[in-house]
């Protein structure tokens, strides 16, 4: 085929003119408010399907392989996840046996009821969705990007919802609603009492610092930032003494021997001796330093890993102290401290 001289130039000019007109039209829509953002109007036909399919495929592409999902069978995980769900997620997604509010149902897109929301997803997908959130849908990302492992209790709860065996007693929600903040804290820290710190063995000074670090974001945690943010600042001075030591919980037992004992008591040339600040027996140490004897081992292990990896804000000293811990060290220390009898925090002696 023979191309007339000058034809390419005409094609180019036509395309350029169309592009300019398109840009002008688009700019006009933005600048003059021509697009109707009303939620009442909704999407044009087909757009909803496109958006939803994009969401589903995007999650499936990005979620971790199912093989990487940890063991979530510990019922304490789902119980903890349930309490966080109650304050952070239930306001939009409701709960099994509970209706979404009329206001929530009027959102675009409407947050699906939790039983519907989890129906088509597996644990790996749920983790991705809760951790990342969904852009332009109102679903927020996990507020502490450093703490992706913290999402698993919520996933454990969601799996129970999917199975129809979810706990329905969401105490945290009730406690908060009644302004009974001690009950609100106890819903996780005493009623579940695994994977979370035992508050009764911690000093008021430590608890105050922890709450203040969670509230100002210097100690990242998607769960505790949320929990602490709900308690009015004025209520904290009265709340802390209620949560911190009253009496020693049990009679003091002999500390078990083993690698955890040696490491905690003497340290190495890389690892400071934990007992100097955290006891047992650190009667002269600062009250802000948490006493660790009898603390929950799973919580201790998680926190030590965060310190070691530089993800746990709140103390430069501990960041340096933990930087050379191995996974085996962390397991040994958490196990040893967990097996000790709690001490009374020095501040209250």
């Amino acid at each position: 085929m023979k191309v007339e001289p000058g034809t390419p130039r005409i094609v180019f000019r036509t395309l350029a003119a169309l592009a300019s007109l398109g840009a002008l039209a688009g700019g006009g829509v933005v600048a003059f408010g021509l697009y109707n953002v009303s939620a009442r109007v909704g999407h044009w036909p087909g757009v909803g399907w496109v958006l939803h399919t994009t969401f589903v495929q995007s999650v499936k592409l990005r979620a971790m392989p199912e093989a990487e999902v940890p063991d979530l069978s510990d019922p304490a995980l789902a119980d903890l996840g349930a309490q966080h769900y109650a304050t952070a997620c239930a306001p939009c997604h409701a709960a099994p046996g509970v209706e979404r509010s009329a206001t929530v149902r009027a959102m675009v897109p409407a947050p699906p009821h939790i039983e519907e929301a989890v129906a088509h997803w597996e644990a790996n997908h749920l983790h991705w969705i809760v951790y990342n959130g969904i852009k332009m849908s109102g679903m927020p990302a996990w507020s502490a990007p450093e703490r992706s492992a913290e999402v698993w209790p919520v996933v454990a709860y969601l799996l129970r919802v999917k199975e129809g065996t979810a706990p329905t007693d969401l105490v945290a929600q009730d406690g908060g609603a009644r302004g009974d903040w001690a009950a609100y804290c106890q819903a996780c820290h005493e009623d579940v009492s695994a994977h979370v710190p035992r508050l009764g063995i911690l000093s008021p000074e430590y608890l105050n610092k922890a709450l203040s670090d969670y509230r100002d974001g210097s100690r990242p945690s998607g769960i505790m930032e949320q929990a602490a943010s709900l308690v009015p600042a004025d209520d904290i001075p009265a709340l802390v003494p209620r949560m911190s030591p009253r009496t020693p919980a049990e009679a003091v037992t002999e500390a078990p021997a083993g690698p955890g004992a040696d490491l905690a008591r003497r340290g190495t040339d890389d690892v400071p001796a934990c007992v100097a600040c955290h006891g047992p027996g650190a009667t002269r140490a600062k009250a802000e330093f948490p006493s660790l004897a009898g603390q929950d081992p799973s919580y201790l292990a998680a926190q030590l890993s965060l310190w070691r990896d530089g993800l746990r804000g709140g103390s430069d000293v501990m960041t340096k102290a933990a930087m050379d811990l191995s996974d085996a060290d962390i397991a040994a220390l958490a196990g040893w401290y967990g097996a000790l009898s709690p001490e009374i925090a020095p501040a209250l002696q």
Binding site: G267, P272, A273, R284, V317, K320, A321
Partner: protein, 331 residues
């Protein structure tokens, strides 16, 4: 902050000019105060004189042939100069120097007279252990070497994470320190004095601040010092020092530092049992006045970039002063 930096820089400069200046002999391989350094220095000066003489002769010849008597040189004379001057003289001279040099070169690793000092390079300080002959446990110290004059002392050298190099120029040659491998060097001081040692292998951000004082003492003084170094700390009794000891315990300093005779048994950082009696602080970083102690505790990371010890600038100034009183009191 600027005021602090200025003061520290000035103080560091003064300490540095005292310790570092080659002219005072603190850290000069050319002003030897030890047997091995003396040999090295002799070798250096003989080679220097030889090199100067050769340089003068060669340039003299050039000058003669190009300026004094320019023109063609007879073939026989030219051949002679090449064979004699280019082959015979250098071979004889260099051969003689080599034979002499090798004959006097000290064996850096010959064994000592009894005392072994084990030095481990850390980032950026020196872990020091004294092993007198037959000892079953070491006397632990840090950041300072003391040795008796006139005795050959053996140094067993190692390193924790990266390669360092142990060098006291006034006493002898340097020896690299490797993680996971022992190296040895022996030194014999011939004159009492305080010399300066320095890490001589780049080892990270604060390599330049990794130094130490090395004091050669009369043997009787050394024996007395070592006895004292082996003893537990005597708790200082001034009110300031007693208050400082409480802060030391309260802040958990003992998690990393040992003060023998107390319940502070940490091993991460330098042993502080007799830190108040040392010549320098922070491995040669500062002097050892009360002000230096307070500056080190409060501005550790500024004085020694990337140091493992956290700075305690968040404590009130008064507490820095009390801690300094306690530490300086650990004589």
């Amino acid at each position: 902050m600027r005021g602090f930096r200025h003061t520290v820089t000035l103080a560091g400069g003064l300490v540095g000019s005292g310790l570092m200046s080659g002219c005072t002999g603190q850290q000069s391989a050319l002003i030897p105060r030890g047997e091995d350094a003396a040999v090295q220095s002799t070798l250096f000066f003989v080679m220097l004189v030889g090199a100067v003489v050769l340089w003068l002769m060669l340039n003299g010849l050039f000058f003669y042939l190009t300026r004094v008597r320019p023109g063609a040189v007879p073939q026989r004379l030219a051949n002679g100069m090449i064979i004699i001057g280019g082959l015979v003289v250098p071979a004889v001279l260099i051969g003689a120097l080599l034979a002499w040099g090798l004959s006097i070169l000290p064996d850096q690793q010959r064994s000592g007279d009894g005392l072994t000092i084990r030095v481990t390079g850390e980032q950026w300080w020196w872990r020091v252990e004294y092993w007198p002959e037959g000892a079953e446990a070491p006397i632990v110290s840090a950041n300072e070497i003391r040795m008796p004059v006139g005795e050959r002392v053996e140094f067993a050298l190692g390193a924790k994470r990266v390669i360092h190099s142990f060098w006291i120029p006034a006493l002898g040659g340097k020896m690299d320190m490797f993680p996971g491998r022992d190296t040895r060097v022996s030194l014999k001081a011939t004159e009492p004095g305080v010399y300066r040692g320095q890490c001589a292998e780049f080892c990270g951000a604060s390599h330049a601040w990794m130094a130490f004082a090395a004091e050669a003492m009369p043997p009787a003084d050394f024996a007395a010092w070592l006895d004292h170094e082996a003893s537990a700390a005597v708790a200082p009794s001034t009110p300031d020092a007693v208050a400082g000891a409480e802060i030391f315990a309260r802040e958990g300093c003992g998690a990393c530092h040992t003060v023998r005779g107390t319940d502070h048994i940490g091993q991460v950082g330098p042993d502080l049992t007799h830190v108040g009696a040392r010549h320098t602080l922070g491995a040669g970083r500062l002097g050892a006045t009360l002000e230096d102690f307070a500056a080190w505790i409060s501005h550790t990371d500024e004085l020694k970039p990337e140091v493992e010890m956290p700075a305690y600038g968040h404590l009130p100034e008064e507490e820095h002063r009390l801690l300094a009183a306690y530490l300086k009191g650990l004589q």
